[in-house]
Symmetry: C2
Subunit: 191 residues, 2 copies
């Protein structure tokens, strides 16, 4: 469902083969919608059955032939219908938060180390988004399609920043809890 709209949206930017789409996913779409190649090829076949895309075979020499897909007018209509349809809230799954939800099972120092690990992983993500953002910012001024792509990157950037903030808050709270526990323990020792 959603995947088909990711593919259709990419095809509004120009015709592409399954492989091209795969590379586009890796380069931009994967930031907010991941798909591997089996899914992309399968979805392209499904889209073609529904006449939302069509393809022609391009014969290349020295390289394998490729199927170049194009969005059909019906495909454009379908994409626009979805785009205009009212948006309802989604649920986002987060493994990091799922880990946080069990953090009380670890000794304080280990819990804090784990949060630092999460932060480190997230920082890489943040740097990546910052780099893409810088590259795209000037391009976004020119074309609508580029602006759309830029907005998507901005989204990832905002989320990566929020993740860093959360990691910092979590660390602070865990430190505070550890200090309280330490206080209790030393008072008990003195008795």
């Amino acid at each position: 469902m959603a995947l088909s709209y990711a593919i259709l949206s990419l095809l509004t930017r120009g015709d592409a083969s399954g492989y091209d789409l795969l590379k586009s996913f890796e380069g931009s779409v994967a930031n907010f919608w991941y798909a591997g190649h089996p899914q992309i090829y399968k979805e392209l076949a499904a889209l073609e059955r529904r006449a939302l895309v069509s393809h022609r075979v391009v014969v290349q020499d020295g390289r394998p032939n490729k199927k170049v897909f194009r969005i059909t007018p019906a495909g454009r209509e379908d994409l626009l219908r979805w785009l205009r349809s009212p948006h309802r809230n989604e649920r986002h799954n987060s493994l990091a938060t799922l880990k946080a939800f069990s953090l009380h099972l670890l000794p304080a120092d280990e819990a804090i180390a784990k949060v630092e690990e999460l932060a480190t992983e997230g920082r890489k993500e943040l740097e990546r988004y910052r780099a893409i953002e810088k590259m795209l910012a000037p391009l976004a001024e020119n074309s609508g399609a580029m602006l759309s792509a830029y907005l998507s990157v901005l989204f990832g950037l905002n989320y990566a920043e929020a993740y860093q903030r959360w990691c910092a808050q979590a660390k602070a709270l865990l430190l505070k809890a550890a200090a309280r526990a330490e206080g209790r323990a030393s008072r008990a020792r003195r008795r």
Copy 2:
């Protein structure tokens, strides 16, 4: 996989039936990991096959009998092993961003209205998280399990705030682009 850890984590807080777990999901876990009842019952059966949980039947009068599940020592070990395992970055899917990625296909005013719609939906989410956060903040000071739960809510809160920021940025950029386009159009008219 991940779902099993959500269930095991809840069971470290006390024994529970599938129905209890379902309610816990709706009340807290669903904020970062959604599961409907068919998934929960299926996963409980799978966990029991792997001897990570066990159950006893509690006969109730006036109400249906229930199966109360308890985490086994093996279950605790499994949860801790996962918790301690190195964390690799996940990919987050976002329908909102997927819509943003196609926003150039809409006329400027409609694109802006769509972003406002996204913001409105997100604001509800934000308010919800704010309310839970306020409720949980004092409780988080007492127990480790509560602190873990609080951290998870903080995560949702940070993300909801980031979403609002993104909506605001997106709206500003779309307005700027519309103004530029309008400028070009009026210059063309004067010629």
